[in-house]
């Protein structure tokens, strides 16, 4: 079993309000902010590890987890972070963030799927910088594979022949069973203690959230292979279909008044805001 996990490097999402727009409005810069793996992609790595582990947190995988990113050379740091969690190897496809769109990234991933022949692609449901939520679905279409997006729970049989996915959708949860190969995109509850059931890993429950890299994991990750290639090597058309022509700052809300009593609050809501 081989699982491919696409990962995007993003500026620290907890400080997204500190990104800056260049004076001419053509660029967003995140200078001074830490770069991290996109949180949902980190969950995808965790999901892949949980699917393949032979025991809860054992780190012994019944297969291979390959982390792939499209970005600058320095994304090797975030790739190594994923390897330190327990993924086996990495692939960096060099590209400039400003010269990528979902179509290009999905086509790059499709070429890598052709080369790597994974049984599953597990990705985050969206990158928290662009917030587009497109690549996994586009990839599934290009490959002609079934898709299960916004996964809050995944169950696989012990022989890893299919995946039953509980999808978090408007108004509730939809359950689908996909034959492999397939694309799964993960939502936040996938990293809850019961997010993944592989019908093999018994014993204690998983902790809530993606695992932290152990010191041993970090040391090991330094020796794990990371291949580098270019988009041109893969023969993917690099013409942008979606261009961002300018960036602006949206209007901000400002602080209002502090009220002391419920009575005062109700009066304000009724007489001033007229919403009661």
């Amino acid at each position: 079993m081989k699982i491919l996990v696409p990962m995007k490097r993003v500026a620290d999402p907890d400080n997204a309000n500190k990104v800056k727009i260049s004076p001419d409005g053509t660029k967003v810069t995140s200078e001074g902010l830490e770069s991290k793996p996109n949180p949902f992609d980190e969950y995808a790595v965790e999901t892949a590890l949980r699917i393949l582990e032979d025991g809860v947190g054992s780190g012994n995988l019944r297969g291979e987890v390959v982390v792939v990113t499209v970005g600058g050379d320095d994304t090797v740091r975030q790739v190594r972070q994923c390897l330190a969690m327990g993924a086996d190897r990495g692939i960096i496809v060099q590209g400039d963030d400003d010269q990528l769109d979902s179509t290009i990234v999905a086509n790059v991933l499709a070429k890598l799927v052709e080369k790597e022949q994974p049984n599953l692609v597990i990705c985050g449901k969206q990158a928290v910088d662009g917030d587009s939520n497109q690549v996994g679905q586009a990839l599934a279409e290009i490959l002609g594979w079934p898709q299960a997006t916004f996964a809050g729970q995944v169950e696989v049989p012990a022989d890893l022949s299919s995946a039953t996915v509980t999808r978090e959708v408007d108004g509730g949860a939809a359950k689908v069973k996909v034959q492999l190969p397939a694309v799964i995109s993960v939502d936040l509850r996938i990293v809850s203690p019961v997010g993944v059931n592989n019908n093999v890993a018994a014993g204690k429950e998983y902790q809530d959230g993606p695992r932290y890299a152990s010191l041993k994991g970090i040391m090991k990750a330094k020796k794990k292979p990371v291949d580098t290639m270019t988009i041109a090597d893969l023969g993917v058309d690099q013409t942008l279909k979606v261009r961002t022509v300018n960036f602006t700052a949206p209007p901000q809300r400002s602080a209002g008044v502090i009220v002391e009593t419920v009575e005062e609050l109700v009066a304000k809501l009724r007489d001033e805001a007229k919403v009661l």
Binding site: A11, D14, A16, N17, V19, I21, A106, V128, D129, D131, S132, Q134, Q137, A138, A140, E141, G144, W145, P146, Q147, T149, F150, T164, V169, D170, G171, G172, A173, A174, K175, V176, K177, V178, L188, K241, V242, R243, T244, V245, N246, F247, T248, P250, Q252, R253, S254, A255, G256, I258, V259, E260, V262, E263, L265, V266, L269, R270, A273, V275, L276
Partner: protein, 326 residues
């Protein structure tokens, strides 16, 4: 000549406000492109909604219906939308950014080789080129994007567009001849839908939303949020922290990666106001924040703030509201 296609997924015989907002968007865009707009409705049974759909100012309404379409699997819907979009020669294909559209539209766009703009909040015509504004970086940056493909695929945030006023049921209505299901449909099986049980208004469309956060401390304590919501006929929402803590289902999460809401009144209870949460509710008209921590960032964006113990304030507020609403 119609050159904008609105795609509407219909369930439970209901045309939601999101569809009316999408039609309004289509009207604006078709004004720019010098044409009109059509509607493609998809669902298991559309007999109960076709008159409503025909009253939204569209050139024509196309119905794609069949028992198997109710499950809204992307593998089935994507070729249907592609067929209608291609045969009709539409320039723009748009849907509200519901979870169905978020699932299906990128697959459909890839199928027809189109570029796509997600969660658009405004549109303009810049020298003959449609330009879509969309929030990025958790709503801290607006990006204006242009699409360079024969068809432009768009999802919109319905909360950012006024609903179209329905008129007479004047649009022509026709049935879509469904293409046969493709092989990939045999590789995905729909097993069931578990509905989040709620008699309250739809979170995405409610006029009033009461949201709880980590400050509620437990799942059981969420009942004080529900009591206040019921007194206000409001929807219940939650911060990601509350969802992560297992207090409430993810379907109720308001924020960058959850639901985007824009009610007349938003009451944030025990929510610190992380920027990811604010991204989902900052378009609310009036925001009330109740939190024991006076330094909480939520107070920076609230019209009315109250610092104190929510377990005392909320029951008191609930009683006061009940008195007013009688």
């Amino acid at each position: 000549m119609s050159n904008v296609l609105v795609v509407a997924n219909i369930a439970d015989n209901e045309v939601k406000k999101a569809v009316l907002s999408t039609a309004a968007f289509a009207k604006t865009v078709s004004g720019y492109t010098g044409g009109s707009y059509d509607i493609l409705a998809i669902g298991d049974d559309l007999s109960g909604v076709k008159d409503t759909l025909a009253s939204l100012g569209a050139g024509k309404v196309m119905l794609a219906q069949g028992a198997e379409l109710g499950t809204a699997l992307a593998e089935r819907l994507s070729p249907i939308i592609a067929q209608v979009a291609t045969q009709g020669g539409y320039k723009v294909v748009v849907s509200a950014a519901t979870s169905i559209a978020k699932d299906v539209f990128p697959r459909f766009a890839a199928r027809i080789g189109a570029g796509m703009a997600s969660e658009v909040v405004a549109v303009s015509n810049e020298g003959g080129k449609l330009t879509y504004v969309r929030p990025m970086y958790a709503g801290n940056v607006n990006g204006a994007v242009q699409i360079d493909s024969a068809v432009e695929v768009v999802t919109i945030r319905p909360t950012e567009f006024d609903a179209i006023e329905p008129g007479a049921a004047a649009s022509a209505v026709e049935e879509v001849a469904l293409p046969a299901a493709e092989a990939v449909c045999g590789k995905v099986e729909f097993l069931g839908f578990e509905k989040s049980v709620s008699n309250r208004p739809d979170l995405a469309e409610a006029a009033v939303v009461v949201s709880g956060g980590r400050g509620l401390k437990s799942k059981e304590n969420f009942n004080i949020i529900e009591a206040l919501a019921d007194a206000l006929s409001a929807a219940v929402g939650a911060s990601r922290a509350a969802v992560d803590s297992g207090f409430i289902h993810n379907d109720f999460q308001v924020g960058q990666t959850g639901k985007i809401v824009a009610p007349d009144l938003y009451i944030a209870v025990g929510i610190s106001g992380a920027l990811q949460h604010v991204a989902g509710m900052k378009s609310a008209k009036t925001v009330v924040a109740i939190n024991k921590d006076e330094e909480a960032p939520i107070f920076q964006i609230a019209d009315y703030g109250m610092v104190g113990d929510l377990f005392k304030i909320i029951p008191e507020l609930t009683e006061a509201v009940k008195k007013i609403k009688g």
